[in-house]
Chain length 530, copies 2
């Protein structure tokens, strides 16, 4: 006991200093929690009788947290889906089209063959030296599986790994980062996680001490950030992306919001940048990134770089640069900037969302803080090994000369070029709609069109106690089966209305989607036009 | 924006009522965080300048949290391992034996063939109808893979699933629970998670509002609970297991600790019971479980039942009963008791730790609270699909008549009977040591022997600023390469000393381990005997 009771007492004392003076007597006696003195007649015992679990007795941070990507609109979609399953002609559409979430394989995208070959062989290594296996699997997938198994102590793919992930796989990932950036990467800086989300939570948990700690987040943002900040009891400090300049990120805006929040007593700990942007799809220019790095260095902010869409760039004039590469190219090293880069196997051309693989590269933190990050990772033991293996594969795919190289390249390029075409087609379609303007999706998997809604539509929404964009999205869903997420779930300039639509439906379905969208929008506007 | 800024403002107001009166002005103006009014000359801005990230500026809850299973002793073991790798004769042993963690496959246990066949086929379904596959995989694994793929929308094993996990797999798991308990189970009560740990965190996050909320935990306990309570800012309310009666769980002790903590102003929200016990290995008697259920019902506590060792029972006189079965057999239903049962693919005879599969069955909560649990699950999208599939497999393994049934049964029984023999051998060996007493491991994967340490040894430990049991474990490691975890990492009656040792080293290694342990202990006692 001693160890954690002391710990717990220490923290109670800590917190009591901050705001629970009246508890002081409790603390000195918290050792007595262990003693055998009963306290049946204590006057306070009735008043502290445990209530049953109810909405008003659970953690308010949980109630506060919101995640629109799987919110109300998706619940309605699931309901409609069930109705269609039981009664195919229940609605004016045969299927629900989920454009609410970046989940490519749910819409028919096929996994990259080489990656799945290696995963299957690592799951069932006993077939590796069977003759039939040669006929079923590519030579380089067999070779890669052996290499990976040899990196795992005892070849035990069913064992907990090191808390940061299997060392050999982190070596491979670090090599992949070096090849991408042209600057060294240290495998000990890599923390493998079950997708990027747990990594984001870990950093929020580390940085947020109370609601007086703020995290600068883009508006619009991916709601994982608002949800995680709410769950950890911090304050989201918004900075606006400029829709007029293609969702530009202005450092002057960062400065202004930082100063404003500081003037309100908020201690800003970190800046979240999502590049390529989600939901906004912009790709930052290198000069812009340099200014952001400089800003974080000057202001002593941790730079949390969401780079999960690094493979998803669709326009020749833009290129992805990691913030680590940019900061190193400016001559900044460990001492200058605390930088965390998030990567995931869920995005890119691979879209392996269900595998829950990802990592964060943690640089510019002291050894003592690193130890704390390691400890928190250890409490959860390790991320899933298949996800770890896949993370190593996406950072070191087949190379020229490997048997799979050509087929792998064809699969990858086929997916990426098709995504580029789908993005353009949908962008053009949105821009043809009355009162709708849509920036180009330079990258990522989304379009975030702005809708200029008629007054009557806004009144109709208010009558139903809905945000106007939520009302539009609900009408779109019930009319067409297309699921998109209201802009209010991501944040937008008050008084403007948007929705996020993925570019992921299979290409052959896009024309029908465009027709359905166009017809719906026309009739919606006809209904509400002043 | 509106939505979460209102949310954030609401919560700030909420909290400010509790303890940040002075912040009131901030709150009414927190909308102005979004306005364009700069605040450069604000007097407070310099005082709130963000500090660089340092140990004294991170979340104190993170610092407070501890997890001994991968603590100091394991770091030392990894260091010794590296020394052996570079210089094989660096130490008086050739290998490090990790008896610190329940990680069977890391010590040579083989995965269950049928489970891995199905996982491999689901990872790479395109081989399912190739002729070579018939020669490599059992007929029922192929059949099961098809069945599972048909349960996944679009057969997309690379897609995010429903936030609670794939519905068809939850149906299978619910059926498995019904077959186990003889009482109905609802697939909508199942939340699939990446191992049991995230499920425990989810419940702690839901129940803990502040350090005034307490969670009753056994002492000794598995440190996931103390760590999770610390990370979520609650208070661990300990209850002692009675070593003298084979780690008995007395309801009188629960009552006493509940009343004592209430008298100190703690609101106890839940009771954690680990059955079979970790680190203590006892299996609760059904009558005992009934009394515990009655206690939770009377006191309005959520019963958090850690049942991950449900397959690990080694003595004929004891049998595992789930708390759900026990409460239903008492006639208690949804309205009577809030009960959460945790299960994992990491334990049992399968020991698939690296797959990070598991689930919690959540019963006796209102629809509104369930919605909040669903929302938190949604923020993390879903658990990994291979882990979800494996969770369904362990709850519905091959049946009589299936091609794999015999080989599967042989693998399962071979592992379980060997674990029983290893437990007995180690238990006997510990009990032969001077000043050591060790209760029987009726179940789970651990022994938790008590060491009566000589005064001189305790003094030597104090001289090194170590807990005496930590000192003993460190000496054991450096002398023999055997890694065990000090009792102080799990909690123990103050002044008593223990360590946790897994029963997992392969059977052929046990005699050597016993010899090494015995020789070390003798020399240790010789060194310090008064």
């Amino acid at each position: 006991m001693r160890r954690f009771v002391i710990g717990s007492a220490r923290s109670l004392i800590e917190r009591s200093r901050q705001n629970y003076q009246f508890q002081r007597p409790l603390l000195s006696s918290s050792y007595r929690l262990l003693s055998s003195t009963p306290a049946v007649d204590s006057p306070s015992s009735s008043s502290t009788m445990s209530p049953p679990v109810a909405l008003n007795t659970i953690n308010p941070k949980v109630i506060e947290c919101e995640y629109a990507v799987r919110g109300e609109i998706v619940n309605l979609a699931q309901k409609l889906q069930e109705e269609i399953n039981t009664k195919p002609d229940a609605h004016p559409f045969e299927e629900i089209l989920y454009c609410n979430i970046g989940n490519p394989q749910s819409l028919g995208q096929h996994p990259i063959t080489f990656f799945r070959e290696v995963l299957a062989l690592c799951d069932h290594p006993t077939i590796l030296d069977k003759s039939e296996t040669q006929g079923l699997f590519s030579a380089d997938s067999i070779e890669r599986a052996w290499k990976i198994l040899d990196q795992i102590p005892g070849r035990a793919t069913g064992a907990y790994s090191h808390s940061q992930g299997i060392k050999g796989l982190r070596d491979t990932i670090a090599a992949g980062i070096e090849a991408r950036d042209g600057f060294p990467a240290d495998p000990n800086d890599i923390f493998l996680t079950d997708g990027a989300s747990p990594a984001v939570h870990m950093m929020m948990q580390l940085l947020i001490r109370s609601e007086k700690d703020g995290i600068l987040c883009p508006i619009p943002q991916y709601p994982l950030y608002s949800a995680s900040i709410a769950l950890h009891g911090g304050t989201l400090v918004p900075y606006y992306l400029d829709e007029a300049t293609g969702w530009g990120l202005e450092v002057s805006e960062l400065k202004k919001q930082l100063e404003t929040s500081r003037s309100m007593g908020i201690t800003v700990r970190a800046l979240v940048v999502i590049n390529p942007g989600n939901p906004t799809g912009q790709v930052l220019a290198e000069e812009n990134q340099k200014a952001i790095v400089e800003f974080c260095k000057q202001e002593g902010l941790v730079l949390l770089a969401d780079e999960v869409y690094q493979e998803n760039v669709y326009v020749p004039e833009k290129k992805f640069h990691s913030f680590k590469k940019v900061s190193r190219s400016m001559g900044y090293g460990e001492k200058d900037l605390s930088l965390v880069s998030f990567q995931s196997v869920s995005k890119g051309y691979y879209g392996e969302c269900g595998k829950r693989g990802g990592y964060m590269e943690v640089t510019g933190f002291g050894a003592d803080v690193r130890e704390q990050i390691y400890k928190v990772a250890s409490v959860n033991l390790c991320s899933n090994i298949s996800g770890q293996i896949l993370a190593s594969l996406v950072m070191s795919p087949p190379k020229v000369g490997d048997e799979s190289y050509e087929s792998y390249g064809a699969e990858r390029d086929g997916i990426l070029s098709s995504l580029a075409r789908r993005a353009k087609t949908l962008e053009d379609a949105f821009n043809k709609l009355e009162g709708v303007t849509c920036n180009k999706a330079e990258g990522a998997m989304y379009l975030f069109p702005r809708i200029d809604l008629p007054e009557k539509a806004i009144k109709a929404a208010e009558a139903e106690k809905k945000a106007p964009d939520a009302y539009y999205c609900q009408r779109l869903l019930t009319a067409t089966g297309i699921v998109v997420v209201p802009g209010s779930g991501f944040g937008q300039v008050p008084g403007t209305w948007h929705f996020r639509c993925t570019i992921l439906p299979q290409e052959e379905k896009i024309p029908a989607i465009v027709t359905r969208l166009t017809d719906f929008h026309k009739s919606f506007m006809d209904e509400f036009r002043g």
